[in-house]
């Protein structure tokens, strides 16, 4: 860029723009110039000073909201998102089409896990909602219904919460074991009753997961997902039990119990920047491209093809939890497989920031 400004520089000073002005006036050529430096010894950089494969460092703070059961504040660059988790009690009598639970309290098998997963989905025990606050970025106007972006993000978080099986649904059940009446003298009657006195699920915890973007500078999903995961790890629910006399669930103070969160899926996004923005749409040959990891807002505006990969490297073999690629044909099979490797690197960064 220095050459461009200095060559037009001296005689008419009115035509010389500062770099930020040029970046604003014609963003695509500006980013292209910084990504394709004249001399080969210069590294391609983006407007924000990062290299194409460099992501912004992530900071995670937890338990900053006092009224929520769990909360987190995640910051990557200028994208800041705050997440609060609040548990509400849902008695089974309020669930339409409730199917009574035929398992027992001590089931720990695969079937019960599957059943718990189904319960999460059927009874909507996880309710994520994303709000893009007015003023977090210029494109969000006050007093309008939720934008397509906000609705899309909510759906993606919801799908991933269920698809990745992050929350163990068994931890959200509230059990009640009816006590035996001691007055019955007859042994036979007593034994019969003992058989009947099976523990039953009387209520569920519903987790309301609310996300608020305080500041929005691109790559909302990665930040939102990291915030959801950190907040869920931070969530502690009070001990709840069924009071048969009052016929309601009561909570006890103290002795809060954390949720059972499985794995650490981490989202990693990138956008594909093409050399020719308004070129004839052809087969894409001769059109150079750069895969920009963790794009910021200005870069997102210039890229059409985006990819998000969610990986979990907690076990020895990398498990992929989600791939979302749309809006272009540059990323084929090999590039996506390569990108999963990049996501593994991101996973280690986020793991370190989470502090586990």
């Amino acid at each position: 860029m220095a050459t461009a400004t200095s060559s037009t520089g001296a005689p008419p000073p009115s035509l010389t723009f500062a770099r930020p002005v040029f970046a604003k006036l014609s963003p695509h050529p500006y980013l292209l110039r910084t990504l394709s430096p004249d001399s080969p010894d210069q590294q391609p950089t983006r407007n924000n000073g990062r290299s194409p494969q460099q992501s912004r460092p992530i900071q995670i703070n937890t338990s900053s909201l006092s009224q929520a059961h769990g909360s987190s504040l995640v910051r990557t660059g200028d994208t800041t998102v705050i997440c609060g988790v609040r548990g509400e009690l849902l008695p089974v009598t309020s669930i339409p089409q409730f199917r009574p639970h035929n398992g027992t309290l001590y089931d720990q098998d695969e079937d019960d896990e599957q059943r718990a997963r189904k319960e999460l989905r059927d009874y909507d025990l996880l309710v994520p909602n994303i709000e893009l606050a007015t003023g977090c970025a210029p494109q969000f106007l006050p007093g309008v219904p939720p934008t397509t972006l906000a609705q899309t993000l909510s759906t993606r978080v919801y799908s991933l919460l269920h698809g990745a099986g992050v929350v163990d649904g068994r931890g959200l059940r509230i059990w009640y074991t009816p006590e035996n009446k001691k007055e019955e003298g007859d042994m036979d009657v007593k034994e019969e009753q003992e058989e009947e006195q099976k523990p039953e699920v009387v209520a569920y915890w519903v987790l309301y997961i609310d996300l608020l973007f305080v500041s929005f500078d691109g790559n909302p999903f990665d930040a939102a997902w990291a915030a959801v995961l950190a907040a869920l790890r931070d969530t502690k629910l009070p001990v709840a039990r069924w009071d048969p006399d009052r016929e309601m669930v009561v909570c006890r103070k103290g002795g809060d119990k954390g949720l059972d969160i499985r794995g650490l899926p981490v989202a990693c996004s990138a956008a594909v920047f093409l050399e020719k923005e308004h070129a004839e749409v052809g087969k894409g040959e001769g059109n150079r491209h750069w895969v920009l990891l963790d794009p910021d807002r200005s870069e997102e505006g210039l890229c059409k093809e985006v990819i998000t990969v969610v990986v979990d490297c907690s076990e020895e073999e990398t498990r992929v939890r989600s791939i979302e690629k749309q809006g272009g044909t540059v990323l084929g099979r090999e590039l996506i497989r390569g990108f999963i490797g990049v996501a593994e690197g991101r996973w280690r960064e986020v793991k370190e920031a989470t502090g586990i």
């Binding site: 089409q97 199917r99 189904k118 989905r121 059927d122 909507d124 397509t148 609705q151 899309t152 909510s154 759906t155 993606r156 919801y158 799908s159 991933l160 269920h162 698809g163 990745a164 099986g165 308004h278 004839e280 749409v281 052809g282 087969k283 894409g284 059409k304 073999e317 990398t318 498990r319 992929v320 939890r321 989600s322 791939i323 979302e324 690629k325 749309q326 809006g327 272009g328 044909t329 990323l331 084929g332 099979r333 996506i336 497989r337 999963i340």
Partner: protein, 253 residues
């Protein structure tokens, strides 16, 4: 359990739209109308290209967040295959009405479901491409899409093309892939729990369904080889549907 039927399609079913198509496959029936290029609303106007607007209407109720997500996926993919640069400042509107969806007897049917429905995406995608072809909207390529689920049955993992709702429910992972007619990967959506090797296998399966090469008409080897029975041949289906439509339109000559 799975109703394996060949896909069916009819073009030009709506008389007032510029183009329309009705497509049914794997239990899903979708009707699409395409109008375009028409005048764009001021906020949608783009100085260099046409805006592709996709509206998904569910079979019952009004669209929610899930439909918005489906719309955004379809919109970004279809923008890539429509020659949007030819029609600056205009709009191509695609309305997709889901008419029929297979029912899952194992779950309580909820009217509003927030999670992404993978099984319906290929039907929506295919219908929009057919409707765009029917409307004569210039495109750089056609595209085909398919859904693949990895189901573990009796300890072994098998991939199921066009999974039923029950398959999706018990599946380890579900994938939707779309390819253009140049064999490029246009869309890839996956969820669940899978490895890179499994995804690779899914890619192969989906590519076989979407981009099977046109059988050579020389010799006897064209349709007789039964090794390729893994799902329908969607590219050939798209082609033959269009050929039939053109033949019937030109019948009077």
């Amino acid at each position: 359990m799975t109703v394996t039927t060949a896909p069916e399609a009819a073009l030009g079913v709506l008389p007032r739209a510029d183009g329309s198509a009705k497509y049914s496959h794997a239990g899903y029936t979708v009707t699409a109308s395409v109008n375009g290029p028409i005048e764009a609303q001021r906020r949608d106007e783009h100085p260099y290209e046409a805006h592709v607007d996709v509206i998904v209407r569910p079979a019952a109720g009004v669209g929610g967040t899930r439909e918005r997500h489906l719309e955004s996926i379809l919109q970004s993919s279809l923008t890539q295959i429509v020659l949007v640069k030819n029609f600056p400042r205009s709009l191509v509107q695609i309305v997709l009405q889901v008419e029929d969806a297979p029912e899952n007897d194992y779950v309580n049917t909820k009217l509003v479901q927030a999670s992404l429905n993978f099984a319906i995406m290929p039907a929506l995608f295919q219908t929009s491409v057919l409707a765009l072809l029917s409307a004569g909207v210039p495109m750089r390529a056609t595209a085909t899409a398919t859904a693949v689920a990895i189901v573990s049955r009796d300890g072994t993992k098998t991939s199921v093309v066009d999974p039923s709702p029950r398959d999706v429910e018990i599946a380890r992972s579900v994938h939707v892939l779309a390819f253009t007619s140049h064999d490029e990967l246009l869309l890839a959506e996956s969820e669940g729990d899978f490895t890179v090797q499994e995804w690779n296998h899914v890619y192969e399966t989906a590519k076989d369904v979407c981009c099977r090469p046109v059988p050579t008409k020389e010799g006897m080897e064209m349709i007789l080889d039964d090794e390729h029975t893994n799902g329908p041949d969607l590219r050939h289906f798209l082609r033959s549907t269009m050929e039939n439509k053109v033949a019937s339109d030109l019948h009077w000559k």
